[in-house]
């Protein structure tokens, strides 16, 4: 089988992993080295596929042969896809060839499990080791780790890779038992705990150098700087609250950088154990928004979905989770933009972190007016009922009105969800700008 055919099979096998991040590393470059590569600062998306997903890393499996039988996975042993395998040298050469042409930021390597977890993990680590040690490659490496692999191998992965990930796949063990019989949530979380220690160790080393006023190494002793994971949405019957609680546990207990949510989508060789119907893609988008609220907006996990009623545990699909929360907590509004704390401002629908910080800046020199919001390209229409400004009090808009919710629902014929899960916040912001542009400001004020 030639290199091109192998690449087709092994890239096809890897595309269900949503992670594409290449940011968050300590800054480094290839000055003074014998090779190429730099990382740190903002990640770069070198291309975009027509599915709206960014192409930042060469995302491949080392092999798509697999012992496990996870029913949502195209590479499970029961699948009838063609199988292929890259040698360590082939994966290394391909990464370098692509990198030199500026197609990619680096490598995201994963693998089906052959023979045993340790055997597979050794191969995966060998690719990273060869890139770093033989070729002095200083670009980005993300290694998918197998939780069953030995701690020594996971540690070695952390030595070479910027990002390590283990996918929890499903939020609870009972779902795993049903759909991924070989996977064990406890074992996964234990492995994540091991990775976290490694990352802490790497950070301590870097901190130690900077405290002793030594320059940061251009090639760190330990590359590992973060771990992430992925959950599949809609393949089991877990509700959004269950998913978000698992995410929250992972963020707080295991110091994860990111939890990715991947809506289960049809695969070429589907399993009879799975639901036929794919979940709406917008559910994935709402989970990303809720995830952002947990991490950057000070929301607690229990606040994001209603506790009771028919929507208990579920995020609304029609409204973004912050707006939905505000509509359920109208007693906390209106918020006076000229007096409220940063924490309160962050809870106002339509105000992003950036806007909140700019408003605080404007407040130092004068009173915030609606005009300021419009200039900051905020969705004035969205926040209007919830705010007080120097020239606006929402009394007449009826925060108590039953019709308030109606105002925010999109007209049915325009229900078009066109979001990129890679950059949910920005897409949502763009959406809000469009809403603002469409609304006539006068008449509402």
């Amino acid at each position: 089988m030639d290199r091109q055919r192998k690449l087709e099979i092994l890239a096809d096998a890897a595309k269900y992993d949503a992670s594409c991040a290449s940011s968050g590393s300590k800054r480094r470059d290839s000055i003074g080295g014998k090779g190429i590569g730099s990382a740190g600062g903002a990640g770069i998306c070198h291309s975009y596929a027509p599915d709206g997903r960014c192409i930042s890393l060469l995302k491949i499996l080392l092999t798509n042969v697999c012992l496990y039988d996870c029913h949502y996975c195209i590479n499970r042993r029961s699948s009838d896809v063609r199988r292929a395998r890259f040698s360590v040298e082939e994966a290394v050469a391909l990464t370098l060839d692509f990198y030199k042409r500026n197609y990619i930021e680096g490598l995201f390597l994963s693998s089906g499990i052959v023979r045993s977890a340790d055997y597979t993990m050794e191969q995966v680590v060998a690719v990273a080791r060869t890139l770093r040690e033989e070729h002095d490659f200083r670009g980005y490496i993300h290694l998918k780790t197998i939780p069953e692999a030995s701690q020594e191998l996971i540690e070695e992965a952390g030595k070479y890779a910027d990002r390590i990930s283990i996918n929890v796949e499903l939020p609870e063990q009972k779902s795993l038992d049903q759909l991924a019989p070989e996977k064990n949530l406890k074992r996964t979380q234990e492995a994540m705990g091991g990775i976290r220690e490694r990352i802490v160790e790497g950070r301590a080393e870097r901190r130690d150098r900077s405290q002793r006023n030594r320059p940061a190494r251009r090639t760190p002793k330990i590359y590992a700087n973060g771990q992430s994971t992925q959950m599949i949405i809609g393949a089991d019957c877990s509700d959004d609250d269950t998913i978000l609680r698992r995410a929250d546990t992972l963020y707080s207990g295991y110091d994860l950088r990111r939890v990715y949510y991947s809506a289960f989508s049809p695969i070429p060789a589907s399993s009879s154990v799975l639901p036929v119907k794919a979940p709406p893609l917008v559910r994935e988008h709402r989970l990303y928004q809720a995830d952002w609220l947990l991490r950057f907006y000070g929301f607690g996990v229990g606040e994001l979905t209603p506790r009771q009623g028919e929507m208990a545990g579920k995020l609304e699909l029609e409204l973004d989770p912050k707006l939905a929360w505000a509509l359920r907590h109208r007693d906390q509004f209106p918020v006076d933009l000229n007096r409220a704390s940063r924490e309160q401002l962050l809870r106002v629908p339509g105000l992003g972190v950036r806007t909140v910080d700019r408003l605080l800046g404007i407040r130092r020199f004068g009173r915030v007016r609606l005009d300021d919001l419009a200039k900051l390209r905020t969705s004035v229409k969205k926040c209007l009922p919830f705010i007080i400004t120097a020239d606006h009090h929402p009394a007449r808009l009826g925060l108590d009105s039953d019709r308030l919710r109606q105002r925010f629902l999109p007209p049915p014929q325009q229900l078009e969800f066109d979001f990129s899960e890679a950059t949910p916040v920005r897409t949502a912001a763009a959406q809000e700008v469009r809403h603002a542009a469409a609304s006539a400001l006068t008449g509402q004020v």
Binding site: Q4, P50, L67, S78
Partner: protein, 286 residues
């Protein structure tokens, strides 16, 4: 006043005008950009300006952040940038608005921020969409040689060159653009004039492999063309080898998705004999 083409020229003029007390509305700035954007030459660093310690006793206090912003904005192609920068400088230095930069909803600041954002985006897109093509190996040094053609929106080559130097240190490369070109030989960056596109190589044997990757990583069950175009605008497509695939992939997506859904699901296959599998399942059961 003679036309101003570079940040350092603007700086000299602006300082002179500021000291002579010429209000912004009395000054007409002519853009003298000819294709060169002279940035980061020796005269611009250290960044803290002479303006803050002007001779003759007049001291204008201007935050460093303003000059950082001005340096970036001077790469913009909009001819209004020089006047805008002087107006902001005047307001900060002589208008009693020392904290002007923090006033995010001020019209001048909004315009400046939008210029700087456009430059930032242009820098980022160049880092993303430059495509090197291999042209050979240097006989004397043994280093691989690559050439890229790129058409940035603004005059950002000099601003962006250090990024490429740090990333592709171990290979020789040139990036050619209509305005100017930059070359790296492992020792130092060299800048030359712009060239026509025909000067750049038109193929690389790796591009077929790259296109295979692009085709395979695409998931036809999640077609989102608009999201893709928002990040990779059509204007860049002509210099991206993979862009020629977009039309076909899009056209066939729904058929391919339909075929996936129509296919009869596969039954689970029984567990193969494998000591490792036996072991982990036993452990999970305990």
């Amino acid at each position: 006043m003679k036309p101003v083409a570079t940040f350092s020229e603007w700086r000299i003029e602006a300082r002179r005008l500021l000291e002579s007390g010429a209000p912004p509305e009395s000054v007409f700035w002519e853009d003298g950009t000819t294709g060169q954007c002279e940035l980061f030459n020796e005269t611009t660093s250290p960044a803290l300006p002479e303006i803050s310690e002007a001779e003759g006793g007049s001291i204008f206090k201007v935050p460093k952040a303003f000059f950082d912003l001005a340096e970036v904005i001077s790469c913009h192609r909009d001819a209004r940038r020089w006047g805008l920068l002087y107006r902001i400088l005047w307001r900060i230095a002589r208008g009693g608005e020392r904290h002007l930069l923090a006033r995010s909803s001020d019209d001048d600041i909004l315009m400046a921020r939008s210029f700087s954002k456009e430059i930032g985006r242009d820098l980022h897109k160049m880092r993303a969409f430059v495509r090197f093509r291999k042209v050979g190996v240097c006989e004397s040094s043994g280093r691989e040689q690559f050439v890229a053609w790129f058409e940035p929106m603004h005059r950002i080559i000099r601003l962006n060159a250090p990024f490429f130097r740090k990333r592709f240190t171990g290979m020789d490369w040139s990036i050619l653009t209509p305005d100017d070109s930059v070359h790296w030989d492992g020792q130092k960056l060299r800048f030359t004039d712009g060239v026509p596109k025909s000067s750049a190589p038109d193929a690389d044997s790796l591009e077929e492999l790259w296109k295979s990757y692009y085709r395979s990583i695409f998931n036809p069950a999640r077609l989102k063309l608009k999201a893709m175009q928002a990040e990779m605008p059509v204007k860049y497509w002509k210099n991206l080898p993979e862009a020629e695939l977009i039309h076909g992939l899009t056209r066939d997506a729904s058929r391919r998705e339909h075929e996936m859904i129509e296919r009869r699901p596969l039954k689970p296959r029984s567990r193969p004999k494998n000591a490792y599998l036996d072991q982990i399942l036993r452990e999970s059961g305990e």
